[in-house]
């Protein structure tokens, strides 16, 4: 049962798998994104309060969700790497960090663009916004710690500890709108209760979320391959693999 897991943890196998998966993930992400964009920007009705301005939700919510999801992926793979000493898991964690940081920047930027017409201000020191900003700082700190070690293995393990400690911020961001009386609107989508958003607005959002996840997976494949290239640069299998791709091209 664990065989696939061990197999996947070997860099040559993961390198090949990531290369195979990437086009599938990327193209399905692009197609879903196009459908969801049409559904969200053209078909969905106007919001009775926010008019057309609400449509930024189709970018804002997926990026904000991913800014947290990517961090969880990062922390879990860092934990796996720390406990079972799997080098590939550390490579995945390292690959996640810049992607997650960019999603956080995008979430903050789109939120700020949305906030200007709705709240009348670009930035508000509100719990949700502040904790999301802290999330960005955590990503930056993680990357700074990683780059300050010359030795990859030490960088891996030291940054893994930081990643795990930083997980405490994830629930704080997620529930900040529930715990504190926040200017940011509460969640409209829920798995346990009925969503407070109408169906014709909801399906493009969920589809967009799925598309962003697939896009993340596609970019992650690229970055994992880059990490493996960097880490295994002296390995003989890698030279062989690179030569065959070069020969094919």
């Amino acid at each position: 049962m664990w065989l696939w897991f061990y197999k996947l943890a070997s860099p040559p196998y993961a390198y090949a798998v990531a290369a195979k998966l990437r086009p599938w993930l990327l193209w399905s992400a692009v197609i879903l994104m196009a459908i969801a964009a049409y559904g969200g920007l053209v078909m969905a009705p106007m919001d009775y309060q926010q008019k057309d301005a609400f449509r930024i939700i189709y970018v804002h919510v997926p990026t904000a969700t991913l800014s947290l999801t990517v961090y969880i992926v990062l922390a879990v793979s860092a934990g796996i790497g720390l406990i079972w000493r799997i080098k590939l898991a550390h490579a995945v964690a390292a690959a996640c960090a810049p992607i997650g940081a960019w999603f956080t920047v995008l979430a903050l930027a789109t939120g700020s663009i949305w906030g200007k017409p709705m709240w009348g201000t670009w930035w508000e020191w509100d719990p949700r916004l502040t904790s999301e900003l802290i999330q960005l700082f955590l990503y930056l700190g993680y990357m700074a710690l990683r780059s300050s070690f010359d030795d990859t293995q030490r960088a891996d393990r030291a940054s893994a500890i930081l990643a795990i400690v930083g997980v405490v911020n994830v629930p704080v961001v997620k529930y900040s709108v529930v715990w504190w009386n926040s200017l940011h609107q509460g969640p409209s989508i829920s798995l346990t209760r009925e969503s407070t958003i109408t169906g014709s607005m909801l399906w493009p959002l969920l589809l967009m979320l799925l598309a962003f996840m697939l896009y993340f997976a596609a970019v992650l494949c690229d970055r994992i391959r880059a990490e493996i290239l960097k880490r295994e640069r002296n390995a003989s299998w890698l030279n062989a693999a690179v030569e065959t791709t070069a020969a094919r091209a």
Binding site: L82, T130, I134, F137, L138, L140, G141, A144, L145, S148, F149, R154, R157, A158, I161, L162, I164, V165, G166, V168, N169, V172
Partner: protein, 231 residues
Amino acid sequence: MVEVPRERGLLQIVGLILARELRLAVRHWDQIAQPLIFFVVVTTLFPLAISPSLSELRNIAPGVVWVAAMLASLLSLESLFRPDVEDGVIEQWALSGQPLPLLLLSKTVTHWLFAGLPLVIMAPVVGTALGLPMSVWPVLAGSLALGTGCLSLLGGIGAALTVAVRRGSVLLALLVLPLEMPVLIFGARAVDLAMHGEAVAGPLNLLAAVLLLCLALAPFAMSAAMRISIE
């Protein structure tokens, strides 16, 4: 060889560490004084930069005192593990077979006695200079007592992670400050509420909860980070 019961052995070791740290701290008293002077100097900047009028300063005083305390605590973290890692003491601890989390925790607690406690004592004086009413003193000192404990423990994780890094102090600030922000929020909020005569139990309870959480978990993170740093 007489078999020493393990319970007593551990307590003895903690006692030995405390005694050693106290002795070292007394001999290097300037290292204790510097963060404290820094604390006072930083708070002095605000009246110069914003306005000398006490009524204006009063509104920002809780935040100013808390931010200054946080920065002073950050400054003192540099000396938490670095000297002992450089002369090999902590390496010996790691090899001694004794629980490293406990040893590092005792070291952090002593560090707090010299880096955190003076801030707690000094804060009411500084707060008064910024126009905080005397009625706020207990809350200010109480929130800082709980808060600087959290800062020392959270900072200890960062210090252990960066101790092997050259020029680690900027990095240390970058790692530790985001983690410490909740502490700052609760602490400054408690003082602010007290100043407006409202109930302060909420944020103080949250601070105490954070402190307990840090006490329970930070030593293990510190020891894991330290083992990576000294290998």
